[in-house]
Amino acid sequence: MNIYTYIMRRLLYVIPVLLGVCAIVFVLFNLVSPDPTLIMLGKHASVKQMAELRAELGLDRPMLEQYFDIVKSAFTFDFGRSWTTKQEISEMIKAGAIPSLTVTLPAFVFSTILSIAISLLVAFYRGKAIDKVVVFACVALMSISSLAYILFGQYVFAFKLGLFEISGYDAGFPYFIPYVLLPILIIVIISVGPDVRFYRTVVLDEVYQDYVRTARAKGLGEKKILFKHVLKNALIPIITFVVIRIPFLILGALLIESFFSIPGLGGITLNAINSSDFPVIRAMTVLSAVAYIIFTVITDVLYTLVDPRVRLS
């Protein structure tokens, strides 16, 4: 298949997926979820009050119209207003994106670099004691609940030892730095286990390839093979793995943000969940789905550009 036709087809596939996402969101939040007016007004609301609120919220409009509103919001990012704070949701998202990114972005960069470094190291010593210890340590790290990391981390490092701020946030550089250090540290610890395991498998998949044997046969040193040949080839799955995770950075770290009172998107989402604020939940769902779809397309296109074998299949 021609590379341009492939990319075009991949781009066009976004449309049915996006319509599908909106359909699922519509079914979940507009069709089968419990009547939001009942949640907002409480059990003792009169029928008239409920009808008025339904009209005010636009819930009495035709179903198809409500569905197309969701589809439209995926393009315009105009999600209407929050039911609880009455704020414009797009404004809330704009305000929350930066605090979220100050936590998730550095955490993501550190954990990725650290994990790739560790996985190259253990791949170099594969089968030896250090490899086994690291792999076991990763599995052990993965087996602890992320909530336990957050609670213990906050209690021990911030509350008991006073090394970090317990919670809070100050906008603007460099004022936010003391507040984000501990959250970043905790995210790095949570992600290092699964990441090292993944990158290690990726590197080891390459180590057993024929070209590595050839390189060895022509007398190259193990270090040179690993860092020059293997790393270059392993970069393809690594990039895929990295790019696909970017949308989750935007969504923020739900639990971390709520524990450390960081006014990011994760916190907004959590508040919306707690107060059944459907428009905000819907907006966050659509937003992150759109981000996910865009970044999957980017990975797929990158993949075809780097690895011609993909196009053939």
Binding site: I24, S33, S146, L147, L255, I273, T285, S288
Partner: protein, 289 residues
């Protein structure tokens, strides 16, 4: 003339079982999982931790010889609550695993076997589904079903089948034109017979490995749902215990968090180790990696 005695060769499953038994990590993990299942069964039958609601001492008594894991705010034994919590954890893991197995295997099998339009629709469906963040789907489903353990089962089960579905689809595509499937067709086997009786047993190893990993993910997710206030109600679970600990920690009461975390850590670690061991035993391609 010598008569050669026919020696029965081991099949894949016997081989895998042998490999598993020779791996001491795998054996330990299986023992741990069995113990947890037994605790869960005995506690649901009322043999263990039936008196978890009873006040047995002062509020927030720290761990001591009398109270191994200390007491909670109402003077209830944290140990008994932890044991009782096993019930929720193991049932959530099991039911979730079964739901996602049924959906994943059926859809993946049908998509891979029939191909064409059916395949396109199923692939579109899981791509769409996968684009929505897991946590949002969980929240939406628990909103609809109300709170409680049934909602937890369904929410976790309905959101975790995509990976298995994708793997099964790929594997079935690879198998469907092989000789043994043609042979089954030649003796008059229909589509569903070929798919479910001939191909699926050959891709079963993927299902088993996935089930083991799915189990521990479900246990971990239950904790998150409980923290969001969408989890199990009126019954102790490790999630609700960790959630309670949020307020207790500021007063220095760490034992409830420690007990729940420890109980969870051991079983999740066992399932992770077991998953890896199963992969080594059932998927010879990956051996030694």
């Amino acid at each position: 003339m010598e008569v050669v005695k026919e020696q029965k060769s081991k099949n894949l499953w016997q081989h895998a079982w042998g490999t598993l038994l020779s791996d001491k990590f795998a054996v330990t993990s299986m023992a741990i999982v069995t113990i947890y299942f037994l605790v869960a069964i005995f506690s649901s039958l009322g043999f263990i931790a039936a008196d978890w609601t009873k006040e047995i001492g002062p509020s927030y008594a720290p761990p001591s010889a009398d109270y191994i894991f200390g007491l909670d705010i109402f003077g209830r034994s944290v140990l008994a609550k932890t044991l009782k919590g096993t019930e929720v954890a193991m049932s959530v893991g099991l039911v979730t695993g079964i739901i996602s197995m049924i959906i994943g295997v059926t859809l993946g099998g049908i998509a891979g076997y029939f191909g064409g339009k059916i395949d396109e629709v199923i692939v579109w469906f899981y791509t769409t589904f996968n684009s929505i963040p897991y946590i949002m789907l969980l929240v939406a489903i628990t909103f609809i079903l109300g709170k409680g353990i049934l909602a937890v089962y369904l929410a976790l089960g309905l959101t975790s089948w995509v990976n298995l579905c994708r793997l099964i689809r790929g594997e079935v595509i690879r198998h469907k034109d092989r000789e043994y499937v043609q042979a089954a067709a030649a003796i008059g086997g229909g589509d569903f017979r070929k798919l479910f009786l001939h191909i699926l047993p050959n891709v079963m190893h993927i299902v088993i490995i996935n089930f083991s990993l799915q189990f521990q993910t479900a246990i971990k997710s239950e904790v998150i749902l409980s923290y969001l206030g969408l989890g199990v109600q009126g019954q102790p679970s490790w999630g609700t215990m960790i959630n309670d600990a949020k307020l207790e920690l500021a007063r220095g009461n760490w034992w409830q968090l420690a007990a729940a975390t420890l109980a969870m850590f051991i079983v999740v670690l066992a399932f992770n180790t077991l998953g890896d061991a199963l992969r080594d035993a059932l998927d010879p391609k990956l051996k030694g990696k």
